[in-house]
Amino acid sequence: MNAAELIQSVTSRYADRVRSSHDYRGDATIVLQHEALVEVAQFLKEDPALQMNFLMDLTAVDYSTFGKAAKPAFFTSSGVTLKPSSEIPDADPWPGPPGSERYAVVYHFYSMSHKHRLRLVVPVDESVDDLDTLTGLWVGANWLEREVWDMFGITFRGHPDLKRILMYDGFEGHPLRKDYPVNKRQPLIGPQN
């Protein structure tokens, strides 16, 4: 199936749960309400036309400083803004961050039999325990969700063992959040500054 058909097969069935969809650069992307995540994921896995048996990647993005990068004041109109070449038509620009929520959890699915890919973007806020775990459907989601918790602080309801994976156990904070300074040192052993 190509990107448009993939999007169509999901939006036609879950029209009330899908916020938006696009296929920027040919990647079929669907922005979904968080309540429908497990249902849609199960549909993606089990529907014979889709058969997305691989959960390739599970990650998150912190959109709180999107577009607000500090620009040097005297260079506001500088930089080499690129437009794509004519071989890759840019009919629709990217719609932008998926919602007003701070985070978006991004799932990449792949079907080995049909060889197609789909990206699900689920906007969430940090304070609410919104997302359900996908470990019931794909065992590999276990470690991936642990990493999202470790790096962003997004919890997953029903996860068997949500604890730090890349950072050490007593680490404070969630490093990939935009408000965590990149040069902050928190060594387990060593000088603290």
């Binding site: 920027y24 650069r25 990647d27 992307t29 048996n53 691989f54 959960l55 390739m56 990647d57 990650t59 993005v61 912190d62 999107f66 577009g67 990068a69 620009k71 040097p72 005297f74 260079f75 500088s78 930089g79 080499v80 803004t81 690129l82 437009k83 794509p84 070449s85 071989e87 890759i88 840019d90 620009p93 990217w94 932008g96 991004v106 990449h108 792949y110 080995m112 060889k115 890919r117 990206r119 794909w138 065992v139 590999g140 276990n142 470690w143 991936l144 990493e147 790096m151 730090r164 994976i165 890349l166 950072m167 050490y168 490093p175 990939l176 965590y180 990149v182």
Partner: protein, 435 residues
Amino acid sequence: MMLNIGPAHPAMHGIIRVVAKLDGEQIEEAETEIGYLHRGFEKMSETVDYNGVMPYTDRLNYVSPIINNMGYCMAVEKLIGISVPERCHYVRVVMSEISRLTDHLTCIGATAMELGAFTVFLYMIKAREYLWELVEKVTGARLTVSYCRVGGVKADLPDDFLEPCQEAFKETRKVIEEAHGLLTRNRIFVDRMEGTGIISAEDAIAYGITGPFLRGSGPDFDVRKDCPYAVYDQIDFDVPVGTTGDNMDRYLVRMEEMEQSMRIVETALRDMPPGPVQVNPETGRPISASEMVDLAKVGDIEAISGGCAVTGPTLEGSGRAHHASIATEEKRAILPPKEDTYGNIEGLMRQFKLVMFGHGLRPPAGEAYHPVEGANGELGFYAISDGSGQPYRVRVRPPCFAIMSALPELLVGGSIADMTPTFGSVNMIGGELDR
């Protein structure tokens, strides 16, 4: 008994901690703890510009660095929407396959060494040295190469690449044959590898495992065949597949993949579109580049007209003649050749606009995911841009992360001695697992 197979261990290449609950020698429960080599790749990439991420990608899967470089570049090129010349695709494919060879040689060599076959390790390291010399001829470095650029590669293959490549492959084939003779029918090796670390195809897919680990269990998913990128769809090669999913099958899959990689490189070198036509040294008078710059600065045009600049070895292969074959046509994406930077004002402006602080490459806002076939499986880069000069988010989908998450299940039920070949065939590379 609780045994802590601690982070620093002679049989664990890479830093990983396994807490095993043992009953005699039988492992009843196992828990892995990773993250000892976490260096914040994703956080650091948000602070530098798009080409500045390249050295960080080298250090992800540090035994096959060019595959990481290529994956990142292709993701960013997809995000921007530019394409590179066909010869550049071929060069990237050749260098990626050489990187894949070094990765498989390291993996099998290390596994064999841990099982006691020290000779095989040394032979494979010897073959790897030949390959690293090849890589050094092209990129200037053996391991952390930073070879690809967004929109091309650093330099073209040198003119005398074919013969050293054939020599290196001859040595590598000899080494692989010797390793086959020493290992494949070796009673001890077979007894330790066959029947250990078995994973079924459904379990592997549920964990998200790809690459040789999955192919050892049956499914023939290879990103180069199923979602072809660069020029892999025009190159003929086979994808070896195992049946039982034990360590022996994965070892055989890797050995055969090395042969297929060499086949890909030989096909690619044959089918590559020709490089640039070299300037005839009689009509194009060679002048040393620094001399040319000095003459141009004082305005002595007659002295330099009709001459062609001769640069030093660092810039070999990245001159103006080569640029058409290694760099995208989009002038705003990639640095100009040095003759243009120092020779005319347009080149200088182009260099300035890409390099100076406050200016720089700014892709349109968007997101793109591009998977490539790493040595361990599907290596995916997911890049998000917000229109500024620095990436907003760069995510690496590490192939051995999925395999390591399945490791506890592979270890339980076996004995401690089975942990060595299983862990070896996982090919855990700390840089990729922890980033």
